[in-house]
């Protein structure tokens, strides 16, 4: 992902905006990228990085596909966590906004599949968050491009369903990954220090990990980490619960 400058003419005046550009050098990725564009082009949501442009450019004589995303002027959550644990209120704000983004894409039956701190941008004094990089998101109705038995996502944040390489994931999977990310934000470190297997067999209780965490917040996060997908809360109700918590903490 590169930071780029997008120039255009608006009302007869030249303008330029920052954008985040992703190049896809591997022609084998073309179909996946096409899908990503089809699914996300036209999406407008304040908690999602939106596509602003896509096409092909020539790089050393090779035609390369690119997608330009709205540039989010903020700090990735993983970078922020390196400076120490986040307060409960900030965690609730991040949770509210990312749950809102997951809810929105799921209303189009799209699953992000890579919800992790590196893909959450904090803005506005850490009180707002944007979910970025829907590069491996998949629309439910489309056949999987991933070979059977393989899965996408970031190790350490995968849901039990992703680990089983289930092809038709749902928003439950993104909710699980968000739960892991929230625990990490509260603790200032990955809840199992990167051990994926423990996460999908006996995820730690939030209150054990961070005894000082607000009880209501810990309770919701623990539900998000339920090993059986139906027992996890849906993103829509989560938005409401986290918004209430963000206001009260």
């Amino acid at each position: 992902m590169y930071r780029g400058l997008r120039t255009s003419t608006r009302n007869g005046q030249p303008t330029s905006d920052d954008c985040a550009v992703k190049y896809y050098f591997d022609p084998a990725q073309d179909e996946r990228v096409d899908r990503e564009i089809r699914a996300l082009d036209g999406f407008r949501h304040p908690n999602l990085a939106n596509i602003v442009e896509h096409g092909r450019i020539s790089v050393i004589g090779e035609s390369v596909r690119y997608v330009a995303w709205e540039y989010i002027d903020g700090e990735p959550l993983d970078t922020r966590i390196k400076r120490g644990p986040l307060p409960g209120k900030v965690v609730a704000c991040v949770a509210r906004d990312v749950a809102r983004a997951i809810d929105h894409i799921w209303s189009k039956r799209i699953v992000h599949r890579d919800v992790a701190p590196k893909n959450m941008m904090l803005k506005n004094g850490d009180l707002e968050a944007v979910l970025i990089d829907l590069g491996i998101a998949r629309h439910l109705l489309e056949s999987p491009l991933t070979a059977p038995g393989l899965t996408w996502g970031t190790h350490g944040y995968l849901s039990p369903e992703q680990c089983r390489a289930e092809p038709n994931l749902t928003c439950h999977s993104d909710v699980f990954s968000l739960g892991v990310s929230l625990q990490e934000a509260l603790a200032g470190r990955h809840p199992t220090r990167g051990d994926q297997q423990t996460l999908i067999t006996s995820p730690p209780k939030t209150s054990d990990l961070v005894p000082s965490s607000p009880a209501a917040l810990a309770e919701i996060i623990d539900l998000m980490l339920s090993l059986r997908a139906p027992f996890r809360p849906l993103p829509g109700p989560l938005v409401i619960r986290f918004a209430d918590l963000a206001a009260s903490l």
Binding site: R164, E166, T170, H172, R228, P230, L234
Partner: protein, 431 residues
């Protein structure tokens, strides 16, 4: 709650209780044009009615299941526009309409279930619209029969989403249920607690906030009797219900599992449905084949959780245990009296073709009584069902000890399987 699984004649058999909570009308019961003209007010239980679009029957062979196929094909989600709708002015009687159009309906049946997005959307909308017009209390979205575990439930979820879209466009304001129709072929032989298909189903359905729940029916392709005897199939059913109800806070309705519906109720199903005839107690595609045979009376024992043969076994059982294995119902009273006075069988329980009014009323009264456990607390329901099944296992053993064997009339093998499935669910759920 117990809902009566209605047939063509909506009237309840014998002296079955009229206070039954509701009914489910299957699309195969009669042609569309006839059902929309039926007066539901005459049947108290149908004041709370559901309509099952039965899309899962789309693979019926019109050559051997002509009667059912003609009825099903008259509904627009199967064969839209295949023939003119029944019109009383034009056709005078449903029989005339059938005589005129049966051949065309049978001809149009093959491959008429849509497979493309537009066709699925139109079919789903037609099924939702029909249920709104019939005044149903909930919408059952049409769904295909799951016969392959390898297809990741993708086609089924396509139908669910098409149905939800239809509900949105038709501004449906009542609860919406997805149909979960699964062949037991994909449930048997696998540990239900590790069955990936089950996990996919509950994952997909629970992720759809617009769904109130699911209408669940196992297709008992592998069963020959009236009851399900597969521990895996029954445990799968209980796990599905548990994940949807306790996990996702949704509603579960169950049909075609006989009085095992009471076990489903203890696990969290809000409605279960059954009826006297085999085709009301179980779902098996082969049962839809045109047959000339007539039903024989069967005595259902609540305590045994199964039937006892009327030809010989009931007298043997009575001789040893008296009326302890029988239960007093309005229709069953004459049977107990006849056994006690040595005048068995009374005419209404005589083992002869179609003499099923008393047996039917007796079965429905038992189902109604079992349905009353829905009024108990969750823990009381579980305890009631546990005691009931433990008692049934004991009675099965007692009957075998006096030489009664399992047969097509007397059911003695499933009780231990039902109890095992229930206890395994309890252990799995930590309840």
């Amino acid at each position: 709650m117990f809902y009566y699984n209605a047939k063509y004649t909506f009237a309840l058999p014998g002296q079955a209780p009229t206070a039954i909570a509701g009914g489910i009308i299957p699309a195969s019961a009669m042609p569309a044009g006839q059902l929309v003209r039926r007066d539901f007010r005459k049947y108290p239980y149908l004041q709370h009615r559901l309509f099952d679009p039965q899309l899962y029957l789309s693979s019926l062979d019109p050559d051997v299941s002509a009667k059912s196929v003609v009825n099903l094909a008259s509904w627009p989600w199967f064969c839209p526009g295949a023939v003119p709708e029944y019109d009383s002015d034009t056709h005078k009687s449903v029989k005339n309409w059938k005589d005129l159009n049966a051949a065309a309906l049978l001809q149009s049946w093959r491959n008429c279930v849509p497979n493309d997005a537009q066709g699925i959307g139109d079919a789903a909308k037609a099924a939702v619209k029909a249920q709104m017009e019939l005044g149903c209390e909930m919408i059952i979205l049409p769904g295909p029969l799951t016969t392959l575990a390898t297809q990741q439930y993708a086609k089924e979820t396509e139908w669910v989403d098409a149905g939800l879209e239809a509900c949105k466009s038709l501004k449906v304001g009542i609860p919406v249920l997805a149909t979960v129709a699964i062949s037991d072929n994909v449930l048997r032989g696998l540990d239900p607690t590790q069955n990936p298909l089950l996990q996919t189903i509950t994952n997909q359905l629970s992720a759809r906030g617009e769904l109130a729940g699911a209408y669940i029916l196992p297709e008992l392709a592998s069963e020959s009797g009236y009851v399900c005897t597969s521990r895996e199939t029954l445990l799968c059913l209980l796990l599905l219900i548990d994940d949807l109800v306790r996990g996702a806070g949704k509603t579960a309705l169950v049909n075609y599992v006989g009085t095992f519906g009471a076990v489903a109720s203890a696990v969290g199903a809000s409605v279960w449905s059954s009826g006297y005839y085999r085709g009301q107690r179980r779902l098996k595609l082969a049962d839809f084949e045109d047959q000339e045979g007539r039903a024989m009376p069967r005595y259902h024992s609540l305590k045994l959780a199964g039937d006892i043969g009327l030809q010989n076994d009931i007298q043997t059982a009575y001789g040893q245990f008296g009326d302890r294995i029988l239960i007093d119902t309005k229709d069953g009273r004459s049977l107990i009296q006849a056994l006690a006075s040595g005048t068995y069988p009374p005419p209404e329980w005589e083992y002869s073709q179609s003499n099923i009014a008393a047996a039917g009323g007796h079965y429905v009264e038992i189902a109604y009584r079992l349905g009353q456990i829905a009024t108990q607390s969750s823990s009381a329901r579980i305890e009631t069902v546990k005691r009931w099944l433990e008692g049934a296992v004991l009675w099965s053993s007692n009957l075998q000890k006096i030489g009664i064997t399992s047969s097509s009339q007397t059911e003695l093998t499933h009780q231990a399987v039902w109890l095992n499935a229930f206890q395994t669910w309890r252990s799995h759920a930590g309840i």
